[in-house]
C-alpha cells in the first residue's frame, strides 16, 4: 500500500462484539485467572459487582476485529513494535456489546527503514450505552509498495 492511500484523522468502525459469560471465563481461566474474571460469585462480591472480561481479552477481540475488517474492506497491515497506552476505562460485563473504532493519527516514512512507514493509530470502543470503555494508542510498521 502507498503512504498516500492511508487516510489520517478518519475513525473507521471496525465492528462489534458481544462478550458472553462462557468466553469471558474461558479466556480468563487461561490468561487472566483473577477471581472477578473467572467466577461469578467472586465477581459479585468484588468491587466490580459482576463477572467482567479481562482487559487482555478486550484487546484480543480488538485485534481480531481489526484483521477481519482489513481483509473485508482493505487497508494496511504490518508488524507492531507496541502500544504507548491501553486504557481499560470501564468494566466490560457479560452481555456488553462493544463497538470498536480505529483512526490513523499520523503517518510517515521511516528514515531508518527505507520502504517502511510508521503509522500511529488511536483506537476506542464504546459499549451499548454509548459509554467509552476502551482506548488504545498504538504503532504499526507497514511495508510500502
Amino acid at each position: 500500500m502507498g503512504l498516500d492511500a492511508i487516510e489520517v484523522g478518519v475513525p473507521a468502525n471496525v465492528g462489534s462484539h458481544t462478550f458472553e459469560a462462557d468466553e469471558i471465563v474461558r479466556f480468563a481461566k487461561k490468561y487472566d485467572p483473577q477471581p472477578f474474571h473467572v467466577d461469578e460469585a467472586a465477581a459479585r462480591a468484588s468491587h466490580f459487582g459482576a463477572l467482567c472480561a479481562s482487559g487482555w481479552h478486550t484487546c484480543s477481540i480488538w485485534m481480531r476485529l481489526t484483521i477481519t475488517n482489513t481483509r473485508k474492506n482493505g487497508g494496511f497491515s504490518g508488524v507492531s513494535p507496541g502500544t504507548k497506552a491501553i486504557r481499560w476505562m470501564k468494566p466490560v460485563y457479560v452481555g456488553d456489546t462493544l463497538e470498536f473504532f480505529n483512526e490513523v493519527t499520523s503517518k510517515r516514512e521511516m528514515k531508518t527503514r527505507p520502504g517502511w512507514a510508521l503509522i500511529e493509530v488511536f483506537s476506542h470502543a464504546n459499549n451499548q450505552d454509548g459509554v467509552r470503555v476502551f482506548e488504545m494508542e498504538s504503532t504499526v510498521l507497514v511495508p510500502l509498495d
Binding site: 487472566d32 483473577q34 487482555w56 484487546c59 481480531r64 484483521i67 504507548k84 481499560w88
Partner: protein, 154 residues
C-alpha cells in the same frame, strides 16, 4: 496431619518501591501459539512456520497479544491472586522488543516502582510496576508499565 491456614493476601500496605522478583516461566508451544492466533490474530506469520520464516519476524512467532496474555497469566497466578488485587485501569509503554518464536522459553519478572494511596477512596491504593519477559537467550522480548489497584488491609 494438621491444616495450615492459607497465608493472608498481600495488601496495599505490604508493597513498597524496590521490590522485584520473577513471576515464573512459560514454554511457547506450537499448539498454543496457533490456538491463540487462530482465534485472535490470524496473520500468516502467527499461524505457520513457512510464513513466519518469510516474514520480518524471522520464524513462527506468537502474537504480541498472546505474549502479553502469557505474562498476564503468570502475573495473576504468582502476584495478583496472592494479593488484594482489584485489577488495573490499563498499561503504558507496551513494547514488543523481539519476536517470540515457537520453542522459546520466557521468564517473567516485575519491579515495584511506586506505591500511592488513593486520594479519594480509603479501601485501596495504587501499586506501580514494571513488567518484562526475557527469553532463553537472556534477551528482553517484552516490557510494559502497569498500575494495579490494590485493596488495603485496614
Amino acid at each position: 496431619m494438621t491444616d495450615t491456614p492459607a497465608a493472608p493476601l498481600r495488601a496495599f500496605e505490604d508493597f513498597a518501591a524496590g521490590e522485584s522478583g520473577t513471576l515464573g516461566t512459560v514454554d511457547v508451544t506450537h499448539d498454543e501459539v496457533v490456538e491463540f492466533a487462530s482465534q485472535f490474530d490470524p496473520q500468516p506469520f502467527h499461524l505457520e512456520e513457512e510464513a513466519g520464516k518469510a516474514s520480518p519476524l524471522g520464524g513462527h512467532a506468537a502474537s504480541g497479544w498472546h505474549t502479553g496474555s502469557m505474562m498476564m497469566r503468570l502475573m495473576a497466578e504468582n502476584l495478583l491472586n496472592i494479593s488484594r488485587s482489584m485489577g488495573s485501569g490499563g498499561i503504558q509503554d507496551l513494547k514488543w522488543l523481539k519476536p517470540v518464536l515457537v520453542g522459546d522459553t520466557l521468564t517473567a519478572g516485575y519491579e515495584i516502582t511506586g506505591v500511592r494511596p488513593s486520594a479519594s477512596r480509603t479501601d485501596r491504593g495504587y501499586v506501580d510496576m514494571k513488567l518484562q519477559m526475557v527469553n532463553q537467550r537472556g534477551e528482553r522480548v517484552m516490557s510494559f508499565l502497569c498500575t494495579v489497584i490494590m485493596g488495603r488491609a485496614a
